[in-house]
């Protein structure tokens, strides 16, 4: 895991920084049958971005991008709430929501793979229109429901651990295993590096492209379900608003290149946790809300600068020099 060292160090640094501002940040206790504490909040609140980041990593690995995932979250949340309110039951609600997510993914995938539209433009369509679709489903209101089964997905806990945290960890593990234990990961990287060469090598690039957008849509649906379940209502205007950007940021902080190719899902998940640690830390620190975005932006700039290869070269030179000298002296 040497490759992930920068991400792990960054996460540790962010946690130390928050602990300085808010002592007791790392304390976790058990009360009311659930674990309570800031780290647990981060695992739980980071679920939507973590789930989006898994799908986004695969899409970005094919040199694509999916701007629509935030809107897809809103659509799927609205569909689930609509099904529950209509009395169709939990199974139908989950099935319809996941189906809607996959349908959105297939739409994006077809625009990219079959029609050759640039991914940023193809997914922009659904990013803009999707929220309108969600509003049509909820008819412009916040569609509230009281169904313990669905609410469990957002605010329940198993063995004290919040369900959203379990969901994203499981999703990450399963996806990671599938892409790394089979040739799928390699094929996705191949498409990202050179789609033409991949096609010539006998790879069905189009099917693979549709598949990665479908997976992104599926994870967006799960994220939308979690957010909707959490507040027990589908808020079409705000569910997943701007989260696609946080997901892209998580992928980048996770050390993945926007130019496609080699990817690390674990890195993106660490990126998502770094972002959520910053968000939660800002809330706990108690600064006036006018500073929220500035603090976040400042930290992100520092993190990305530290990861920049060029800066690493600059810092590496003086560090290498003193290391070399004692060696010479020893000889």
């Amino acid at each position: 895991m040497k490759r992930l060292a920068p991400q792990l160090l960054t996460l540790a640094a962010v946690i130390v920084l928050i602990s300085l501002v808010f002592p007791g940040f790392l304390s976790v206790e058990f009360s009311n049958g659930r674990l309570v504490g800031a780290p647990i909040d981060i695992l739980k609140r980071g679920a939507p971005v973590a789930l989006l980041a898994i799908g986004m990593t695969l899409v970005i690995a094919t040199r694509g991008i999916d701007l629509s995932v935030g809107a897809v979250m809103a659509i799927c949340g609205a569909v689930a709430a609509w099904a529950i309110v209509g009395g169709h039951g939990l199974g139908a609600a989950l099935g319809l929501a996941l189906g809607a997510g996959m349908l959105c993914g297939i739409w994006n995938g077809l625009l990219v793979a079959a029609f050759g539209i640039q991914p940023i433009v193809a997914t922009l369509i659904l990013m803009v229109a999707g929220r309108g679709v969600a509003q049509l489903v909820t008819q412009g209101t916040i569609l509230t429901f009281s169904h313990e089964g669905l609410a469990f997905l957002g605010s329940g806990s198993l063995l004290g651990v919040p369900v959203p945290a379990l969901i994203w960890i499981a999703a990450g593990a399963v996806t990671g295993l599938i892409v790394r234990q089979t040739a799928l990961g390699l094929l996705i990287e191949a498409v990202g590096v050179n789609p033409r060469a991949s096609t010539l090598a006998g790879l069905n690039t189009r099917v693979l492209l549709v598949a990665v957008y479908l997976i992104a849509g599926l994870f967006a649906a799960i994220a939308g379900l979690i957010v909707t379940a959490d507040i027990r209502g589908a808020d079409a205007n705000n569910t997943g608003l701007w989260l696609e950007l946080d997901a892209i940021l998580a992928v980048v902080i996770g050390g993945n290149s926007l130019l496609g190719g080699r990817f690390s899902i674990l890195g993106s998940l660490l990126g998502a946790m770094i972002i959520q640690s910053i968000n939660t830390g800002i809330l706990l620190a108690g600064y006036p809300s006018e500073f929220n975005l500035v603090i976040k932006a400042g930290l992100v700039v520092v993190i990305l600068m530290l990861q920049s290869p060029r800066l690493a070269q600059v810092f590496a030179l003086p560090r290498r020099a003193p290391l070399a000298r004692p060696k010479e002296a020893g000889e």
């Binding site: 309570v36 412009g140 209101t141 916040i142 705000n238 939660t280 809330l283």
Partner: protein, 317 residues
């Protein structure tokens, strides 16, 4: 483009114009961007119907050019008055002057314009600072001198409701040294953010045991926060008092369940006072005041929240 809108607007209007009633009023609404605005449209229609006024409705879909086109077509049809909820504050001088020349009184609903006050009859609106003040005063009375540490969920940073409702609440609790705002963060007016930020407040304030009351700039954030309080094992409404603003239907459900304590109404009935002012003006030319402030009414658990919910749930919120 403009002519197209004009034609579309006027055909829509001729369609809605039924038998000539006693008075005809044109209403140019911004659109239906929020539940509150949808409720305002519904209530305006109800108010017109109650008074036997023939209301010509035009939805501008958030575009000023659509509103100006609608106003011009109202003028061309010679309506008896025009209601307009202006989408932006500037750029109204020309069309308002046309209305004045045609001697058609214009009433602004819920938002103001930057034009000369002589160009419109009156404006009906709420006072955002007063809403905050009412919430603050309620808390002062409720805790009756006891020590109270308050957490505040602000609206979107920099928006005028967030600034004014914060200012008003601080004025409301100004005299009471026993009340202190200990934490204040933005919840962006949404349920999800309200819940998330409340969780961090609970975390930072000894699991919520040090918090006596929550003040939220709108009901949606309060609804989210109530869930966070429940999940932390505390009783909202009892362990932590909850006061918010807007009076949307869902907060009345929470109040009926004893989970919220009070809400201050931002009334969607801006048309009622407007029609009253117009009636007096038509009768004997009485000029109303230039700004009619709607009441910032306080609702508590004592006001039969379940019944209020039933009244409001179909208004389109």
């Amino acid at each position: 483009m403009l002519t197209k809108t004009l034609i579309a607007g006027s055909t829509a209007l001729t369609l809605t114009a039924g038998l000539a009633a006693a008075q005809t009023v044109g209403f140019s609404q911004i659109g239906s961007e929020s539940g509150w605005r949808a409720a305002e449209t519904t209530v305006t229609r109800q108010q017109a119907e109650e008074r036997g006024i023939d209301l010509k409705f035009s939805d501008a879909q958030q575009k000023q050019e659509n509103q100006i086109a609608a106003l011009r077509s109202f003028i061309a049809q010679g309506v008896d008055a025009i209601l307009v909820a202006p989408v932006v504050a500037t750029g109204w001088d020309a069309v308002l002057e046309e209305a004045k020349e045609a001697e058609i009184p214009v009433v602004l609903l819920d938002r103001m314009v930057d034009s000369d006050k002589e160009l419109y009859l009156t404006a009906v609106g709420s006072d955002l600072v007063e809403e905050g003040r009412v919430a603050g005063r309620w808390l002062v009375d409720e805790v009756a001198g006891a020590e109270c540490r308050v957490v505040e969920l602000q609206g979107t940073t920099g928006s005028s409701p967030a600034i004014d409702r914060k200012k008003g609440f601080e004025e409301g609790i100004a005299g009471a040294d026993n009340i202190e705002i200990v934490r204040s963060q933005t919840g962006d007016f949404t349920r999800a953010r309200g819940k998330e930020v409340m969780e961090s407040f609970l975390q930072a304030e000894n699991g919520g045991k040090d918090i006596c009351a929550l003040y939220a700039h709108n009901d949606d954030m309060a609804v989210g926060a109530i869930q966070a309080i429940k999940e932390a094992g505390l009783k909202p409404g009892t362990d932590i008092k909850v006061v918010s603003i807007d009076a949307v239907p869902d907060i009345f459900l929470a109040m009926a369940a004893g989970e919220a304590n009070a809400t201050v109404e931002l009334t969607p009935n801006m048309a009622g006072p407007a029609f009253d002012a117009l009636a007096a003006y038509w009768k004997d030319g009485t000029m109303p005041e230039k700004f009619i402030q709607t009441e910032s009414k306080l609702y508590t658990q004592a006001d039969d929240p379940q019944a209020v919910y039933e009244q409001r749930k179909d208004l389109g919120y």
